[in-house]
């Protein structure tokens, strides 16, 4: 499945992934292949991306939203600048 991570200023990630774990407002959850369509708000915390070769990449965020449709994942965030 494809993941796109956007901030208002730039694109943080765009590519094929195996899974992504996000800090949802009501708790952390993970999106895997063929996840049902979902829209959720996100709170402060790390977005953990497992890329196609199995490596994990972490992007800390302040807040944001995730949308999943047909294996297309979009995460819109305000990134945590200090942690970059």
């Amino acid at each position: 499945m494809n993941l796109l991570v956007l901030t208002p200023e730039k694109e943080l990630f765009n590519g094929t992934i195996k899974a992504v774990k996000v800090p949802g407002t009501t708790g952390e959850f993970e999106i895997r292949e063929n996840h049902a369509s979902i829209v959720s708000s996100l709170r402060k915390g790390p977005v953990k991306i497992t890329n196609s070769s199995g490596q994990v990449e972490t992007i800390p965020i302040k807040k944001g939203f995730i949308e999943v449709i047909n294996n297309e994942v979009s995460i819109l965030v305000q990134a945590e600048e200090a942690a970059e």
């Binding site: 208002p8 369509s37 829209v39 959720s40 708000s41 939203f65 819109l76």
Partner: protein, 299 residues
Amino acid sequence: MSGALKEVRDRIVSVKNTQQITNAMKMVSAAKLRRAQQAIVQMRPYADRLNRMLENILSNLDGGADTSFGVERPVEKVLIVVVTSNRGLAGAFNTNINKEALRLIDEKYQKHHENGNLTLLCIGKKGYDFFRKKYSDINLIEDHVLAFNDLSFDSIGTISQHIMDEYEAQNYDRVHVAYGKFKNAAVQFSQMVQFLPVVQKKPKVSEAEKQRRADYIFEPDKETILNELVPSILQTSFHKFLLDTHASEHGARMTAMDKATENAEDLIKELKINYNKARQAAITNEISEIVGGAAALEG
């Protein structure tokens, strides 16, 4: 005679110097414009997707989607945000934005102005100076005049957040923004839009689309997401006002400076012709003097 010659020569030099400056300013603005344009382009996908999410949610909500930002209240207190540039020499760019704000005040908020219920928030020095000097009776918020020094989403976000907070606290019942809309490098125009309350657009959704969207899971629930989504969208559109104005400023300056450089070129041409004429006149004069002198000696 040589006095006139020197004068023309000096003027040519001075015009040439001016031309160099205007040309340099044009180049600088062109470079800055490119960067400003990039910022706008980069924000577009983010804004588009946020709006798509909003439409998704709205089409799934039964009945109204009223957040506190969509409620029309009787308009008692008005805030107008005037976004201009910090520097001039950009043609009529800033003047037009200020005029736009003045027109709105004249047309709709004359009474609010008289009763002191009209507030202006100026971003950018040009608008601030204009309103402070000429309309000192309007309440001016000057905290954000220099917002252009830091165009990051975080920094601009605090301004729009502040406006939204004030709106929710009913300190303002309506918020307008006057800014320079950026179309392309050659075309910018001043525009006035209503920022709050949000002007509701009914999303057009086909039945098939509705079916597809009905499958969505909303976490935690639609209302909560909506309450977080709307401020984010508002922040994004507010940010766009500033980015647009920023790009427009440089576009306008580029055009203005290009014209100025061309004008200088014309002026130099004209002065050169004058200079050559004066020089030729001086030479002719000298020759006729010599000839006259020689004739007198012979005679």
